[in-house]
Point group: C2
């Protein structure tokens, strides 16, 4: 079901109901871009730690707009032995709702926009009919504005009708407007004197005169001035309040859906969902946590499951070659899997997986849900007796909870939301710095004595180089000791030095912070306090995956007569 | 005429022809936003100097995308005594053309997007069918890439068919791909041995194997390997070059239109055109000049005329109340003006000014041209004998050349491209700094003894305050001498201090720059060298305009019973 600005309010209860009754939810987002900094291949270095990756995405991906959100609810019908599905495809746009609302600036990346354009994405629908939203802080501020105005009106009686500058200096009325103003004044005095008149409708102002009331912006507005008694005044005040309350609700808009998901505490399934999770928190809820405890990513989503991670993990890893969403969905209809039994709820349109509508968020959320069902049910086949249906609450799927797939990291499959991240041995990895003129081929040249190597670019002047044998590492470091143009250190040395720098920087920041504190009487700063959670290392031991060939930025295949280099480049996040 | 990616090449000669034959051109641009920094009212402070305004726009407006460009050519037909008009409305989008093309990121401002959406702007057309472009530097780089590849191919013969990494280490072929690779090798050897075979078509690679050629990205590609003699090789090389040349042209795309305008040296007319001029230079040509010599804004446009400035200047100022484009166009059809005689050229659609299509760039360019014609012709009525037609080459309009309207500056009507800017006396203006909690009303309070004042906000903690009498200025400064929470200085003092700071900063920058130079052997930096031009103060003395009431951020009207404040806010640049 397509949800835009005009049908949002009418369908909100349907959305709430779907979330409430669901066994699990599937989500997907479409963004206006992926990286405003380095190229995507540099953004996703093969030896990023999960925290480094999080920091990079936080820094380089959050200024883009999530402008389409897919939500799909799945509810299992035990009698019919099938899932009932409700799918929603929301178009989202931060339309300013009045003159004090935030005027959001967002970035677009032309490759991403071009990609979506080629998929037939409807930008007009986003920009003309997108549903607005506010994050928690913006909502609080708006509520405060309304409250302030209201308390002014209630407390000070008629004061609300007097400008706050009323006690200030008078203004000279321009010569050509004097007549008009005099006429208005006469009319108002007449209204006050005359018992019978209750209302006065002023004629539109002549061009150049700006007048009255907080709301008028259009060119011609008639102003009505009424005489009212105390009771009537209160009644109108209440009417106004109710209207304001509705305006506030409208402004919070799509964020209400996110709040409902958060309150439900339901299992939320996504495919390669790290960016989706980060964007929804950042855009609809609150600034992303500084770091330290990625656990706080669960501020909205209590239980997350990433189908790309699930498909890359035992027992699926061995029987699934390609974990891109479209391929996965196809694969999971075939033996040894069973196509899931899913039906659209009454009044909801159904998707046809035969005619793909990939990269429409609602459709992607839908097939993500299908993938989850197939894989969950497959786990049931290992039970004795085997079970055809494995529910979203089953212990069997718990090992996959709250681990988000990490794209193109060689040896850490996931970011762990429930404890410390995996720390693979990187004793075959070197950190190399070199002049910025160097290319991948220069690195191959440098390490030509060491056989097969893999290069993961960090930036213009540094890269990780992984050797095939850990024993070679010390040799490489030793032979480079007196080199002038480049520098080689082991991965362990690199990590240690980085840690030291960070400590030094933190200390510096803390010191200068204390210094500033001394200088200031009052500060506006509210440090981020992550929810306190206990840490536990997950029981599940997902085997660290082997080095994935396609993850390497440069991959050479030698075939006697042909020696060719392929430089891959990926512009999409969801593969 | 609507020009998009698909019909651009076919119509380019029409565009060239229109520019070539025109008496003058009118232009207009639509952008994805105006200010990514301060609110528009702070961006346009009433006491900005032209240079300050330029710097602010350069800093806060250039990350937006100019995504629609209107160009309208006007050619006078003496026999028919009317103008023949050709109008083009270009949709523009930086579609990446290959994997080494720049992946442009641009900002969108929701208020601007919302504004355009309400005008029925077609974003799908921009993003799906926009014409690409390159600036000069990008074009140079792309040309270099092609040249390099070509010289490699020509100079080194068959070397072009060998990967640059060919001399590097071999790669282990994964077990599951060995069979496939062996089969390929056999086929290639067979091709080389066998006299009769000229071509070999390889089967698509199995998933996971990436192979050959610079261009392949799609999932399945067949590779053809051919045996060729020297002559055939050259022929193919030439074919390839011709194709590359066309690709290059396609990539330069819309910038070719801008180059044609630049080369024509024709008079270019715009309405409130400063941002249009800055955007076209920045986006299609080269980075905007640092400052010093705004003359360099003429890098593309040799002669510019701003109809908003013209309409705000004598003799039009007195008889034109509203200089917004739509209102101006209406006004200039009425006495004492004559509606201009303009006809669409054959094969070009005509616009109907009765059914407005405002904010379509082509339409806005068109009515800008109409405004110019009406005003130019009106100047002819002062001649004896009076003339009905005043051409774009007439001396009568020269006083309006190369002066760009400055929005909401109180006392400097234009930015002067041909000499030093006007320096109005600001002896009634104070510069005030204060705590960031202060509001306009606090300033009114502070200056309540001085009668009517006007406040122009600079930022959260400073503003210009203009008093009605210059004599009051020193009194205000004196009485504030011992104030703790705020500081008042005269405008002259403020300017002097700012100048000193700038000198100090410049010195610092130069010193640290020299320091850096010493440390580096080679630098990538190319300083911007503005074209040398002579400076002359314009003969025309445009009277500095009085204080415009609507330019003040706060305007109080006192009408005995009513004391009301209106806080204006403008979100659009073109008024």
């Amino acid at each position: 079901m397509e949800i835009i600005r005009s049908n949002f309010k009418d369908n909100l209860n349907k959305v709430y109901e779907a979330i409430e009754e669901a066994d699990f939810l599937a989500i997907d987002g479409e963004f206006s871009g992926i990286s405003d900094g380095p190229s995507v291949s540099t953004l996703t270095n093969g030896f990023d730690t999960p925290e480094e990756r999080y920091q990079k995405l936080k820094k380089h991906s959050m200024d883009f707009l999530l402008f389409q959100f897919g939500l799909c609810s799945f509810k299992y019908d035990h009698t019919e032995a099938k899932y009932i599905m409700k799918s929603f495809n929301f178009y989202i746009f931060p339309k300013p709702f009045n003159r004090s609302s935030p005027d959001v600036k967002f970035v677009c990346q032309s490759s991403s926009i071009d990609f979506l354009a080629n998929q037939g994405f409807d930008f007009n629908k986003v920009f003309r009919n997108g549903i607005p939203y506010l994050n928690q802080e913006e909502e609080r501020q708006l509520r405060e504005q309304y409250d302030e105005r209201r308390s002014q009106a209630n407390g000070a009686g008629t004061l609300s009708y007097i400008s706050p500058n009323a006690t200030k200096c008078p203004v000279t009325i321009p010569e050509d407007q004097k007549k008009f103003i005099e006429r208005v004044v006469e009319q108002i005095e007449d209204l006050i004197q005359n018992e019978e008149n209750k209302n006065l409708q002023l004629e539109p102002s002549i061009p150049g005169i700006i007048y009255l009331c907080h709301y008028c912006f259009q060119k011609e507005r008639y102003i009505v001035i009424s005489k009212v008694d105390e009771e009537e005044r209160k009644r109108r005040e209440q009417q106004k309040q109710a209207k304001e309350q509705e305006e506030l609700s409208d402004a919070v808009g799509f964020s209400r859906v996110i709040h409902a998901i958060a309150n439900s505490g339901k299992l939320v399934v996504g495919h390669n969902m790290l960016l989706d999770v980060m964007h929804t928190i950042h855009q609809f809820y609150c600034p992303l946590p500084e770091v330290s405890g990625l656990v706080s990513l669960q501020v909205i989503y209590k239980i997350l499951l990433d189908t790309k991670l699930m498909a890359s993990t035992q027992p699926f890893k061995e029987i699934i070659n390609n974990t891109s969403l479209a391929e996965l969905e196809k694969r999971l209809k075939e033996i040894p899997f069973n196509p899931p039994e899913v039906e659209s709820a009454e009044g909801f349109p159904s998707y046809d997986t035969a005619s793909e509508q990939l990269h429409e968020a609602g459709y992607d959320a839908y097939i993500t849900g299908l993938c989850f069902i197939s894989m969950a049910n497959y786990l049931g086949s290992f039970l004795s007796p085997p079970k055809n249906h494995v529910s979203a609450r089953s212990k069997l799927i718990e090992p996959f909870f709250n681990k988000l797939f990490l794209m193109r990291v060689m040896d850490i499959p996931y970011l762990n939301l429930e404890g410390p991240d995996l720390q693979p041995k990187r004793d075959h990895v070197l950190h190399v710095t070199f002049p910025k003129e160097w290319k991948t081929s220069d690195l191959y040249q440098l390490f030509s004595a060491f056989g097969n190597i893999q290069v993961s670019w960090i930036d213009d002047t540094s890269a990780f180089v992984s050797l095939s044998q850990p024993e070679q590492v010390q040799i490489a470091v030793n032979t480079s000791r007196y080199a002038e143009s480049y520098r080689i250190q082991t991965y362990a040395e690199y990590v240690e030095k980085k840690h030291e720098e960070k400590q030094a920087k933190r200390k510096w920041t803390e010191d200068s912070w204390k210094e500033m504190e001394r200088k200031r009487l009052k500060t506006q700063y509210t440090p981020y306090i992550p929810q306190s959670r206990y840490y536990c290392r997950s029981k599940q031991t997902t085997s660290t995956r082997g080095i994935v060939p396609s993850a390497a930025p440069s991959h050479t295949i030698t075939v006697r007569v042909l020696r060719l280099t392929f430089q891959g480049r990926v512009t999409r996040q969801q593969v």
